[in-house]
């Protein structure tokens, strides 16, 4: 666990399984790699980076994405290509989501936890610019964007010129939380042809 995201994904994925959504989580762990099924019924695959030495978070992330693709593709083929959508959190695995979309036609939701502009203001170093370019790619290629507050919805629209209709607010503290997530998924599922 690095931040609060791990807890959130754990809670969300268990809820999804309860609502009869087949849920696979692809995530990172340095050594506890492989596939496991949690007691909740959530299937988890953990991948590590085959490249051990890095010069920064970016190179680490960009190489790890191939392992994420490998794991995700494996799930896709084992499920007889019946994957309705991918929900990707923040910029780290946007490259994998984008490739899977272009290659296999699986649409994705970009769920925003935070933005580079807020994490490292004024975010104008080449390093931050690279991350911002990945965030931009994510917003451009995503079928829908999920945010947790009206404020973030405005920020995504302001910084990346994303049309507001594309951004849905799903507040995790509201009673209707899971219902909202499922509604969002339903608007995305069904492949790219329905776009």
């Amino acid at each position: 666990m690095v931040g609060r995201l791990a807890e959130y994904i754990n809670a969300l994925s268990s809820q999804l399984v309860k609502n009869k959504v087949e849920t696979h989580v692809v995530t990172y762990h340095d050594f506890l790699t492989g596939a496991v099924e949690e007691a909740s019924g959530v299937k988890v695959v953990r991948v590590a980076n085959p490249v051990r030495t890095h010069i920064g978070v970016l190179t680490w992330d960009l190489t790890l994405n191939q392992e994420v693709e490998r794991a995700a593709a494996s799930i896709y083929y084992q499920a007889n290509k019946q994957i309705d959508l991918i929900d990707v959190y923040d910029w780290h695995f946007i490259p994998a989501a984008v490739t899977l979309k272009s290659a296999l036609g699986v649409p994705f939701v970009y769920s925003v936890e935070s933005l580079e502009d807020h994490r490292s203001p004024p975010a104008d170093t080449p390093y931050s610019m690279s991350i911002k370019s990945i965030e931009w790619l994510g917003f451009y290629e995503a079928k829908k964007v999920g945010v947790k507050s009206e404020w973030m919805r405005n920020e995504v629209a302001r910084i990346y010129n994303v049309p507001k209709e594309k951004i849905e607010v799903v507040a995790p503290n509201a009673n209707s939380w899971v219902k909202k997530v499922l509604e969002l998924y339903k608007t995305v599922a069904g492949g790219l042809s329905s776009q």
Partner: protein
């Protein structure tokens, strides 16, 4: 109906984008494969003025947006470029339907795109290792170098077969990444002799006069001005050669050692004998190779040594350091002269040996030209490569991915 064998190739350079030897390699390989009934899709980086998609002699070339993402340094740029390459290549492959049979990557510069697409489409990946970070840097000294080395190791691990252009590279790559013997295949690099034949009848005297006096012999070096190419060894050999023969040393190419080298030349007061030309266009280069009385390849590390082969195709006699791929291309006293690597005295000996003996010189260049035509012909190389694709597909057809 079964479609023809088709391959998607990844390369960070393809003409008109030329940085090193991969660009001409992929250019001629893909064209010759197309002639041999293989459908080739090349995915490469964009270049100002070059179209995003074009068909060259049956080869579909796609140029991707390689500068979309800003990057803090070269290595990070490579991985970000791969992100776009992978995304655009995925869309192309998806559009083609189930048409791509194999992916073929050239060097670590396209490693992550190749690896990712292999898994997403579940098609076999082949790699040609043109060089290694360990060889280029003579060891691994920084985090960047280690990272690149580990990326190379990962790429060779993911590849179904690893192609190297010389026996030397086969053993080097096997050692560097601990690969099993049967994963490696040697397919030589090729050279196109036609381009030299086309200027065979041209009177090159006026052209030659722009670079050297009639009584001066031309000693030609073509390559980047970097440590691994051993250009400093040649510079050290200049006064030793001039003791015996009147010659003009023409240095084509540029690199980080340029200022250092020209300072050494100036301090030896030999500025009038050594000409640094920088990067030249193809037309000039072909004619220089044709005019050269001798071509020198003094490399300290050389996976293959295409420059030597080009000189041989241009019928210019070669002196090479006895290392890496050069050792295999040149047979001493028969198709060229081999000298001790990292040894200016030995190099000067080799150069004067050829320049002082006209009969020997002609004997060497005729033999060399014959060898080039027999062994380094793109047609044969394409056929060998096609057989590797077919063998891999045969194995693949028995796997659960098929």
């Amino acid at each position: 109906m079964k479609h023809e064998l088709s391959v998607m190739m990844f390369s960070w350079e393809f003409p008109p984008r030329v940085i090193g030897g991969i660009s001409p390699h992929v250019f001629f390989l893909s064209k010759s494969l197309a002639k041999n009934g293989v459908k080739v899709y090349v995915v490469t980086c964009d270049f100002p003025g070059a179209p995003a998609h074009e068909v060259i002699d049956g080869v579909d070339v796609y140029r991707i947006d390689s500068y979309k993402n800003p990057a803090p340094d070269f290595a990070t740029w490579v991985y970000l470029m791969n992100l776009n390459m992978q995304r655009e290549a995925a869309a192309i492959a998806n559009k083609l339907g189930d048409k791509i049979d194999v992916f073929h990557a050239h060097d670590w510069l396209v490693a992550t795109a190749g690896i990712g697409l292999k898994h997403v489409f579940r098609k076999p990946l082949l790699v040609t290792m043109h060089s290694t970070e360990m060889g280029r840097r003579d060891g691994l000294h920084t985090d960047t170098e280690k990272m690149i080395h580990e990326t190379e190791a990962w790429l060779t691990y993911e590849a179904w077969k690893v192609i190297c252009c010389s026996d030397y590279m086969v053993s080097h790559v096997k050692w560097a990444f601990g690969l099993p013997e049967d994963k490696l295949v040697m397919v030589p690099n090729g050279v196109n002799t036609n381009v030299y034949e086309s200027i065979e009848k041209e009177d090159l005297k006026p052209f030659r006069a722009k670079f050297a006096l009639p009584e001066e012999k031309i000693v030609l070096y073509v390559g980047r001005l970097v440590y691994e190419k051993g250009i400093h060894i040649l510079i050290n050999a200049v006064p030793k050669v001039l003791e015996k023969v009147d010659a003009k040393f023409i240095i084509v190419g540029s690199g980080y050692m340029k200022d250092q080298l020209s300072n050494i030349v100036r301090s030896m007061r030999l500025g009038h004998k050594v000409l640094f030309l920088g990067f030249v266009d193809d037309e000039t280069l072909l004619r220089l190779q044709k005019c050269a009385d001798i071509s020198v390849v003094p490399s300290l590390f050389e996976p293959f040594g295409i420059v030597a082969l080009e000189a041989m195709a241009a019928k210019s006699p070669v002196v090479v350091s006895d290392t890496g791929g050069l050792s295999e291309i040149v047979d001493h006293n028969f198709t060229g002269v081999k000298v001790y690597p990292n040894n200016p005295d030995s190099l000067a000996w080799g150069i004067t040996k050829i320049l002082l003996d006209e009969n020997y010189k002609n004997y060497i260049r005729e033999n060399a030209y014959k060898k080039v035509q027999e062994k380094y012909d793109w047609e044969k190389i394409a056929q060998q490569t096609k057989r590797i694709y077919e063998a891999v597909l045969g194995e693949y057809s028995k796997s659960f991915w098929a």
